[in-house]
Amino acid sequence: MSTLPGGLTLAIPSKGRLEELTRKAFSTARMNIARPGGARSYVGSIKNQPQVTVRFYPAAEIARELILGGVDIGVTGSDLIHEASENGEENVLFVRGLGFGEANVVVAIPDSWIDVQQMTDLADVASDFRSRHGRWLRVATKYVNLTRRHFAKYGIAEYRIVESAGATESAPAAGSADLIVDITSTGSTLAANQLRVLEDGLIMKSEANLIVSRTADWTPLRKAQLEALLSIMGGVPPGISTLL
């Protein structure tokens, strides 16, 4: 996207706690992010860093833009990079975790399934579910790619994903799915819905990350600007740009 010889695009989550904590992380490094026009505006800037254009996007969109090279640097959850595309992680560089937005993507089943402790049990259940119930075992999730990869790893093919936009944890009780793959930070929502995480049901640990796109067009000048920005951020060894 960057046709100018220099200049960097930085993508920041556009709302909620993730936006707040991201801006705090940058201001700790003495880079205050200005968002003139407030929550309705989608472009901002950093004081004293005129070469950086800040764009505000929903977190999932930041992951997609980083993978496609539409933005150069971004802050988003590592889970979203893995979910956005099957080869998402090859197209970005995780610079460092930011210490917030921690959550686990997990496989959770109704607590009453006392015969199921591990993914292997789930494989057994899936294998004859269809002959017993005349339909596939259903998994509610918004993490379609992560679920497919994790289930494939355990040799589970006999299931269907029910895409869920929100309140995934209520799907088993609502009867729209048999189990779920969802994100959890404290586990209290799962417990309140009497769902239990499988012993080996942790698909990934996620946190907000500072991420650089590998697919953006990295000219020598822009690489130098990236190094400068990362050194101000701190906590990053110099030379990241040589990996691009």
Partner: protein, 361 residues
Amino acid sequence: MKTASERYAALVRLVESRTVTRATPALLLPAGPYFDLAGEEFGRNLLLTTTNNGVEYCLRPDFTLPIAQQYLEEGLTGAPSAYTYLGPIFRQYQSTPVEFEQAGLELLGQADADNALDQVLTFARWALAIYDITAPNVRLGGVGLFEAFLEAAEIPVAWRSRIRHRFGHPEALERLMERLSNPEERAEAPAPDSRDTVIEIVTDAMLSGGLSLIGSRTPEEIADRYLEKQALESAPIPPETVALLQNYLSVAESTETAFERISEMCKQAGFDFDEPLYQVRNHAAALAALSPNADVIFDASFSPRLDYYTGIVFEMTGSDGEVLASGGEYDRMLERLGAGEPVKASGCALWVDRLEREAEQ
């Protein structure tokens, strides 16, 4: 020296030969049946498109399913039919869309299944010959043979279905084998719970979790599997049987040696397995007669991941290891699509672009 278009014309002639019907299913197909038949793992490779009311369609990802569906819809179930096809299919791998040219043969409802499989092998052989491939690497596998082996080795039924289900998935099967070779040490035998007690406990847990007792897994189903698991853990498969199973699965060598080895290991374990081996032996011999230069191996652990395969399966690969042709017997597919019972079916698919690349080398 033939040109690419001459080779393609020869392939068209093979596909349109007089004894078969060339099928031309639509390019745009409902996606539901593919998910129903092959599940989420195959579904991830479909190129999907959605109508305004949310119904999913996909670009034709293979020919077998629409051909089999048409066969059922026309009320031909059980009637011998022979279909061929040639045309583009569409899939996505690693989020990149790919268009392939695929050709193939489907023999449905044939009275003589062995003869049908030999015809399929012959068809694949002829197609390869068009592309000057006379010495492919052929890998044979036996799905039915493995099922027969599990039975003959007297592996408990509950374990048998767990093992069978993981067949064709090396990682999952290996994990299960590890579990079988190192059964969990139990400090004490668990107090056997009565089935009624377990059902009651599960029912209570389901109701307090707000779950319907009939919509998903039922309390009885959960309780039975719970008790079955307890029983299996207290009665593991004997180590010598696990060793035999591992030995069987490790067989992957040229056919005659492979069959000898299997026959021998079964004899040493105290049972005769020559009868089940007889059929796969015959097909291997037919294949050897068809292409004397081919390198044919029998790989005991080879199986496609789809659970509707039933008998013998095969794969022919070229010089760089890419699959040129694959197929086998899949009697459970038509049943899965609603035929009510298994219907004899065998067929193969050919990857035309790869055949052409092979010819150009």
